[in-house]
Symmetry: D2
Subunit: 324 residues, 4 copies
């Protein structure tokens, strides 16, 4: 079978690096080029030191247009600008990891599907342009979609904690090791930018939803992963809720409902989401966890590519988790 | 001035160790004995290695009764049993760090005051027996008491994260380094045992309170500290709320309302609690943080001792925080 | 192509868990059974929580003999005993991860080859029984073998640091999170048990070597990985030494000599070893790093299996490193 | 007793922050001013968040000259320049934490004593100007001085690991949390700048010493502390060596020889140094550990101040270690 030719724009960042790692080992993909203005001419392993011995490929500042798919791994706002200034021909599929196209934004000739397979699998299969979901958005939505599907969603009280890679590789006070080690703090309290796409997705399944996702994000003292606990008032038994979740995620390639308590490291360095359910009185607590760089970014992007090209959804994504 | 003679029961655990560290350096205290059945005869520094060079004192299995105050640092359930089997004479003050006397339990001739100075300072001054609050309880109560005082408390949605010392020194799966490093998990979801004392304290200030503290505790991948975020619906402005908190904590020795965002390491290895306030719409978010072993245990115990003996509340508690 | 049928003895530990993860995703292997006395009947994911959604396989206490290869992941001393009590027929290849057969020990009809491919590749290809090297041994040997090959090895001064997984999953004081987090300590100073196999391997290439490997192991405050720095007096230029190392590791599948400084996370969650070289005056410093559970245990075991069965040496070992 | 008036130059950095924390709680000191150009006018707690509630003092860009002692906490090279441009009158004692005066450099009218009390206590008592030792230098010297005193020092092979605070608060790639968490790496291999002052101190006690300190520094994945292991060939028994060390450090306020194994967290957040000794054949291994910001910087600076002003050497330095 001919391999899919893939290019990466913005390959020097965290998301771009993960995309490189996944595509280099993907059985159906040939990584054609990795674009980076700042690092053009340097070996990939000069930036991503773990790639030493994996590839002698270099960053380029030349965009190759003879590809089947391009992953855009640029900062928010930069993606749209880049695609406007560097349009690809119509036959090139676009998977954009920024938030620039998640809320219905378009480009001439390009409409984007919100790339959460658990919500939009069939649309993704037919789409040429994907707006890859945000990391917190993915984790919170996967924790709540089954309730939205059942029309049960009301006000939600959510706390989520994220690793430092969520803040990108730019040096800043809150990613200084000395400050962040052994530290916890809140940020963007009740105002996180992912709330918009979360609401959009929930309303896709429960159109009359008028509740509020009260979301308090925390910075965690680890590098990878997101763990979220959401509290919702509900008029069902835990057994009923569990059935609802298991039905919703039945047959999914990467999202699993656990019968046991869950923990973050179950899924770190994998493309999986695990969901745990607990109940006390009329209060349901949904715990969910993902790796922010994989299911929350580049892993989900590859999952979307697999769907768009009719591949096994798990191709190139059978990853060894870190576990320990 | 004559020094206060203090003894410690259960000196080999984490809480006992912190009590030793504080009392050894307390300007008004003479640490008379440290009791431990399992370690009797061993140097304190054989268990608490950081005490090398600080003292040549040894653990003893003999209880000395000629003291002014005894700190009981035993496990829950063991304190009551110990005091029943080893009664001290009436002149000896008791500060118990377990949960055995926090909900009105008594011993013959001994009634216990719940030792949260911000709530019960005057009662503590006059008391001979203190039930020292729980760590999560201290942090959550200090985040909510000003609202209870103002009669504003309704349903509360709280997530809190705790360091591994909160689980004690016993070896268990969830305190194995390999499992806990870089990991996050929930436990005792909505059923944490501290909820009882929290409700008791809140109702002391807002007797008609009938709401629920929906509390999801998380295990954190650090050793010391508790960070809590509580979401509450409220019909006040942030300015009004801030004034309310600042008035309530005005003049407190250890609890401070921050005008900035707060973070856990601000207070680790100190006896302080910092409180941060944020608001969006009608939702107030209260962040609060303490060191679970100090303000959440032995530090607060010493603070209570200071009050009981008429000392400066900060005596022996001007600690250098770890900061980094 | 028919898949290799593989079994695992001792599948509930760290090494066994990593073997499961690797073999489940190995393109040429069918994982036939995973033996564990203590967990027989339980799902693999009940012990290895990250396997939820990967497999519904269960631990068994029945040994299946109709397999092509068995990985023995038992504690030191237990392997030999197990194989004596449960002999496999001659056609079953054995890969033993303990230290029981690394120094020439045999079983009736079974002679073991020391399974370091960079040293014994051709012997491994022809062997039916592998004694898989120790983790520190692998890392130190890979740092020194090129010097031994050139007959340049003298006294060596080595410090190495290891993650907590090196100590296994048993709960002990030095793997308690509260103790180990942010802590460093030395253990088995100059007496580590791997020194024997290290000396054996070095003498295989430099038979007259009479120097000493002065090795101080440290416990690190992380879970995975080994980083080693060795100081050696040498009468060569850095350029000459670098050439010697590059020649020695030319064409290796997993061991790479870096021209840059190296760091531990370059290789964590991969089967690679990276080697870095620095020189000052007549002192050469060799830095080397591996993942103790992969190149230092189960990854190398699979690499050996690949060699024994004539597969691509990298089959099933193209792992996504954790990087961050 | 009149309090010592102390000022701090460069109070916004890590060393300056620790100096503030120590001097604020020092029973014999009045902290008169904290100088910082970049933060003049801001509250100390706006930079050092842990000081909230401790003091309402602000940074100033005005230097007060009516003080008894000034702590200079500026970067290397900046101290000398600052003192040349801003000379203090002769009666003001100077304690400089940079490396600018450690190797015999002088200023007009000011000769500096190398401020390692275990080496130069009597000189420090009589001095008006102190060059405070480097962090690695302090830890390595305290591990080797007793051997130098006995004339036993030969070639030394040393590996040391340091926390991220050793690199200062400037944002850089190697202090980015994402990179440094769970990572180990070497830097300045065999060329660390502290080797000069180490050699100077060793030769002060063993003038004919002509060996080499082969020192490989590592970056550790923790924030505070230095742990060092040095290997030396020696013709003595462990008992003889131990006696030599115990005699040398007999009566010291902060340096202790342990009979047990040592670990880093024994001394983190204290001004102590612990030394551990092990032997195998003719090889002695000396382990030593300090907190790089305290005994390795500001704590030792205050210790020197205590000596210079005839105070109890431990005044203001009875710190509660972090332990956990």
């Amino acid at each position: 079978m001919t391999k899919i030719k893939a290019g990466i724009i913005g390959g020097a960042g965290y998301g771009g690096g993960e995309a490189i790692r996944l595509l280099l080992n993907h059985p159906n993909v040939e990584l054609t080029f990795v674009h980076s203005r700042s690092n053009a001419g340097n070996a990939l392993y000069s930036v991503h030191a773990d790639l030493l011995g994996e590839t002698s490929m270099k960053f380029t500042d030349t965009i190759q247009h003879d590809v089947d798919v391009v992953f855009i791994c640029l900062g928010h706002g930069e993606s749209k600008k880049f695609l406007q200034e560097n349009p690809f021909k119509a036959s090139v599929k676009i998977i954009d990891l920024s938030q620039d196209f998640r809320l219905g934004e378009t480009l001439p000739g390009r409409e984007f599907v919100y790339g959460l397979p658990e919500l939009n699998r069939e649309k993704i299969r037919k789409s040429d342009n994907i707006a890859n979901p945000g990391c917190f958005a993915t984790c919170i939505e996967l924790g709540l979609l089954p309730l939205a599907q059942a029309g049960l969603l009301k006000d939600v009280y959510t706390t989520g904690i994220t690793g430092s890679t969520g803040a990108g590789q730019k040096l800043q006070d809150t990613t200084h090791f000395t400050w962040r080690a052994n530290n916890i703090s809140a940020y963007k309290t009740l105002t996180h930018q992912h709330l918009k796409e979360i609401n959009q997705s929930l309303k896709q399944l429960q159109p009359m939803y008028s509740g509020t996702i009260n979301f308090v994000p925390w910075r965690g003292d680890f590098t990878r992963g997101i763990f979220v606990s959401s509290i919702i008032t509900i008029d069902k038994s835990l057994g009923e809720v569990r059935k609802l979740y298991k039905d919703f995620y039945n047959g999914q390639a990467f999202t699993f409902v656990s019968d046991d308590t869950i923990d973050l490291k179950q899924i770190v360095n994998s493309n999986k989401c695990v969901v745990g359910l607990e109940m006390e009185g009329d209060k349901l607590v949904v715990h969910s966890a993902i790796d922010n760089l994989l299911k929350g970014a580049s892993g989900q992007a590859v999952q979307n590519m697999n769907l768009m090209f009719g591949l096994d959804e798990r191709a190139g994504l059978k990853l060894k988790s870190i576990v320990f």
